[in-house]
């Protein structure tokens, strides 16, 4: 597989952390935010040296894999045409502090990454890097645990599974395929899997028991048998 360029959209806590992981993994890395490039550059040169600061549009054009590290509610600012043909890893979550007290974006029948896939119909969206907090993302790689932590992902596009797995493993995690994008719901806030930074076998055990959890019961009530 030829080497790929990672583009990280968003340069807050999550974006700057992912930029460090990406540099550490040896990927060519682009990062952009809503700040002017000159301003962001001197932040990134300190926080993630080596990552190239650029504009959002140049990042989208230049990256093979784009990781969304923006507030979820800003997804409408993304230009679907510019994103056409791109592989997009959605690391966002609905977060009251930035997205508002009432979630008018996603529901139990339409998870947030499905909303983003709908918004970017010509892109190949996977949900990834969302179920671990930004501190854990870095700590669980830095400390080199004997067993890498599971990073679950979901996508409707089989052709991008190899690249998603490559990115996830080179970042330092064990990729775990949840299947179609709708299963990404199981990684969202409220789910027992959200926040988990555990080895794959433990993650699978929790996954196997998910429909007995109150969250899983709510999912079944909302989606019937459709999600299982």
């Amino acid at each position: 597989m030829p080497d790929i360029t990672i583009g990280i959209l968003g340069a807050g806590k999550l974006g700057s952390t992912l930029a460090r992981l990406s540099m550490h993994a040896g990927f060519a890395t682009l990062i952009a935010s809503r700040r002017p490039v000159s301003q962001l550059k001197w932040v990134i040169d300190t926080l993630a040296p080596g990552a190239v600061t650029t504009t959002a549009s140049e990042l989208i054009a230049g990256a093979d894999v784009i990781i969304l590290a923006i507030p979820l509610s800003h997804y409408r600012d993304l230009d679907p045409d510019a994103f056409a043909g791109k592989t997009v890893l959605d690391a966002t979550n609905y977060w009251v502090e930035v997205d508002g007290t009432v979630n008018e974006i996603s529901t139990l029948t339409h998870s947030s990454s499905e909303v983003i896939q709908d918004w970017l119909p010509a892109s190949k969206v996977a949900k990834a890097f969302n179920h671990m907090g930004y501190h854990d993302l870095e700590i669980e790689v830095d400390r080199k645990p004997t067993v890498p932590r599971a990073m679950a992902y979901a996508t409707d596009h089989d052709e991008i599974r190899p690249v998603v797995e490559q990115v996830v493993s080179r970042f330092g995690f064990a990729p775990l395929d949840l299947g179609p994008l709708r299963f990404g719901l199981l990684l969202e806030p409220g789910s027992p899997l959200f926040g988990e930074a555990i080895p794959t076998d433990e993650f699978r055990d929790k996954l196997a028991a998910i429909y007995t959890s109150p969250f899983g019961q709510k999912v079944i009530a909302a989606r019937g048998g459709q999600i299982q």
Binding site: H135, F194, G195
Partner: protein, 350 residues
Amino acid sequence: MTNTTYQFGLNTFGDLAFNDDGTPMTGAESLRQVVAEGQLADRLGIDLIALGEHHRSEFAISSPEIVLAALAATTRNIKLGTAVTVLSSDDPVRVFERFSTLHALANGREEIMLGRGSFTESFPLYGYDLENYNELFEEKIEMWEKLLTGEPMNWEGKFTQKLTDTTVYPKLPAGETIATSLAVGGSPESIIRAAYYELPVVIAIIGGEPTRFRPYVDLYHKAAKQMNKPDLPLGMHAHGIILDDEEEAKEVGWKYIKAEMDRIGIDRGWAPMTRDRFEFEIDKGSYYVGTPEQVAQKIAKNMQALDMQRFDLVYGTGGQLLHQRTATIRNYAQKVIPRVKELLGGGADA
């Protein structure tokens, strides 16, 4: 300066404590216990005690200034701080009134540490909209800086009251101020904001290898330079248990620190702490759990690596038995702090 001045403090959120027979203390008892511990810390010569504000079942302190006022009247030298005051969900005018009152009662020993609040209970409790989390802080910190000048206030904000030629009382004595610092987690924006307002930064380093925060320290220095602001010393805050027996310290940590992190994690979407992660936090990470010598070595190493001049030890995390809390405070004051100063070298007292 050839001689760096270091400052060592204690922090607590007023975690509901346990009697030595294991029975839980009430909130009221826990509050009185914090006052007794603050008095002990003063007698032992610790530089500062700082209290955090919380509004949930695990913690007794929701009004830190009142506890600090009790300490102001019964201590002599120790600085009395908050860690943190959630300015975003408070009224800066009232915060100023409380702290200028404390300034008088404590003869200027008060300190305020402002934060956005990583716990968010205070927002709905006081009728603030959490979705204005960032804007509330931005606006109120600006108002706070203006209040500190002591000049009559002319102010118009989006989330705050309009003030016209208004003086806020009690006034600070001429030439005096309320020592203010800013608490920061992992946000680059917060670091830059602190440099802009010329506020010293205290970073909560409560997980992972402390050196991963080095880029944030560098960013603060760089931002100060870029904006032509003073390059102020930084501080860090972390959890610890200091007992003479290493294994006992670890077991107390596993029982209480883990329990607290897991309880908070339920609300925050953190995973329960695994034993290997806990051991990592003690060996290489951010828990200062062990014997006085082990803890001193670790504090000195990390203060050096991160260019820190202030270290705040969070004691009593998760409650803990009274004698465990007291042992940590005594060991910190009598063995750890002198040893850290020795290890850092030339750390003459101010």
